[in-house]
């Protein structure tokens, strides 16, 4: 963030130096949907670029995820005869816990670096900030799942990437990071942010968690699409309902700052 601000002001100054007319900084705004999504992408790209340079979030999420899979593997080793019995729960449980590590950094990092005011001053709709942050978090968690899910395959000897499971994971991650990003914004300014976020997030995630496990278990049992399509529907409904509420209320979060 600070880096992009710096280059921006640098550009403005060099512009002023070469042409003596004192042209005020022109805000480049593109109307319509295309312009909106460009702004969303600009916010997301900023977070992704910061992550590529600082490597702060993704590494922690993957390391924690792998560690958790190994811990569960050891924990169930003596008592569970078949990995398929616990693999769905392990997969979704680990994703939920690993996700929190990224979500609390989403706005938490902005608070720590005092860059939140600059972000809020960006000439974009507040909802564009939300969707940009959401997109970046989605990419982080999806990248972590790309490592965590194969780890579950190896440790529990079950193919959790077959059939409709990846689709369920996609829908689940949308709902999870969508609500998580908003709750990350709510908890960014409070004491004990790191411990408060999972307490707020986990119970609201119960439908996603149950639908994910239900879907994964059904696919692993070799059921037909008709037997588990309601889980995909539930995940879809969850995504639509909660992203809509998030879109409606996000404006209210920083109205006094």
């Amino acid at each position: 963030m600070s880096m992009s601000v710096a280059t921006e002001s640098h550009r403005v100054e060099s512009h002023r130096a070469e042409s003596h007319r004192a042209v005020p900084v022109q805000m480049y705004t593109q109307p319509g949907h295309a312009g909106y999504w460009r702004k969303v992408w600009a916010i997301a790209a900023k977070d992704l670029r910061a992550e590529v340079r600082a490597k702060e979030v993704l590494g922690t999420m993957i390391a924690f995820g792998l560690l958790a899979v190994v811990v569960f593997g050891l924990a169930f080793d003596l008592r569970v005869p078949q990995g398929a019995m616990v693999a769905p729960g392990v997969l979704w449980g680990v994703i939920l816990f690993a996700g929190v590590l990224g979500l609390h950094r989403s706005f938490g990092a902005e608070m720590d670096r005092h860059t939140l005011p600059a972000l809020l001053l960006a000439p974009v709709d507040r909802s564009a900030i939300y969707f940009g942050k959401f997109l970046a978090q989605f990419v982080f968690l999806a990248a972590a799942v790309v490592v965590i899910a194969p780890a579950v395959v190896v440790i529990f000897n079950v193919n959790v990437l077959q059939g409709w499971i990846p689709v369920g994971l996609l829908l689940g991650l949308i709902g999870y990071t969508g609500v998580g990003t908003l709750f990350g914004a709510l908890t960014a300014g409070i004491r004990a942010r790191e411990s408060m976020l999972p307490i707020l997030l986990m119970p609201v995630m119960a439908p996603v968690f149950m639908a994910g496990i239900g879907l994964t278990a059904n696919v692993l049992d070799g059921r037909t699409f008709v037997d588990f399509r309601h889980w995909l529907l539930l995940l879809g409904i969850y995504d639509v309902v909660f992203l809509t509420i998030a879109y409606l209320v996000f404006d209210m979060i920083w109205e006094d700052s």
Binding site: V179, L182, F183, L186, T187, G189, I190, R191, A192, M196, I199, L200, M202, P203, V204, A206, P207, M210, A211, I213, G214, A217, N218, D221, H230, W231, L234, I237, Y238, V241, F242, I245, V249, M252, I253, E255, D256
Partner: protein, 249 residues
């Protein structure tokens, strides 16, 4: 002190008539609960199709259902309070939502505890992942999180706004949790040898039991209103004390 704060100082406490109203409500709630104890333990005839421990334990049903009724009322009031707060930005609605959630959570915990005591003799287990048990537990956890969350926010307006936003998410997730919990069970082996989890421990309702149920509804309505209004008033006074302290400093 400005005139508005003077007016608020007067309205923050309760006027004379309000005091009498609250007192009547208190007494009504006490009589209602005492009446419910008598009705559920003595007046209601035992369930005809149950025997032994199960028959005795069935009497907890009136308290169980009453608590559930109170919890539901609390969470509904909290939704209304939160939405109105977000629209009108009147802190009194936020206080109403907080009072409703505190009392609702208390009743929710009551529902779960009485359910646990009832389940052991009837189902021979304290706990099962029945959709209703799952939903009520997760709902209570959500609202406990709400109360913890509010505690962590220092600015009064921010606390109200963030609390109201979280209350919206909390309430919206309850029906989805219920449906996922209902579908979730269907993939597991059914523990009680029947498709209907209510089947074990069900009973036929007689006339005296219907009467007792009505007494339970009235008694718990009084108890809920009393606790909720008292807590609402207390929160109003708390904010008032805080405001006055700010003015002095």
């Amino acid at each position: 002190m400005s005139t508005t704060s003077l007016r608020r100082a007067r309205s923050a406490g309760t006027s004379g008539l309000g005091h009498i109203g609250l007192l009547v409500l208190n007494i009504g709630a006490v009589i209602g609960m005492a009446g419910l104890m008598w009705a559920s333990l003595l007046y209601a005839l035992p369930a005809s199709n149950l025997a032994g421990d199960e028959q005795t334990a069935q009497r907890i049903f009136y308290i169980h259902m009453g608590c559930n009724f109170g919890a539901l009322a609390g969470f509904l009031v909290s939704l209304v309070g939160s939405v109105i707060y977000l629209v009108k930005r009147d802190l009194d609605w936020d206080r109403a939502a907080q009072a409703a959630i505190e009392v609702g959570t208390l009743f929710g915990i009551g529902t779960i505890l009485t359910g646990i005591f009832w389940a052991k003799p009837t189902w021979n287990t304290y706990w099962t992942w029945d959709p209703r048990l799952t939903t009520s537990t997760i709902t209570v956890l959500i609202y406990i999180a709400y109360l913890l969350f509010r505690n962590g926010i220092d600015t009064r307006q921010t606390r109200a706004r963030f609390g109201s936003i979280y209350a919206l998410f909390a309430f919206a997730s309850v029906p989805l949790t219920y449906y996922s919990a209902r579908w979730f069970r269907s993939i597991h082996p059914v523990v009680f040898g029947s498709d209907n989890p209510d089947a074990e421990g069900g009973f036929n309702i007689g006339v005296t039991m219907t009467h007792t149920l009505w007494i339970a509804v009235i008694a718990f309505s009084l108890l809920f209103s009393m606790l909720m209004l008292q807590r609402w008033r207390q929160l109003r006074l708390e904010d008032r004390i805080f405001e006055l302290r700010e003015e002095i400093e």
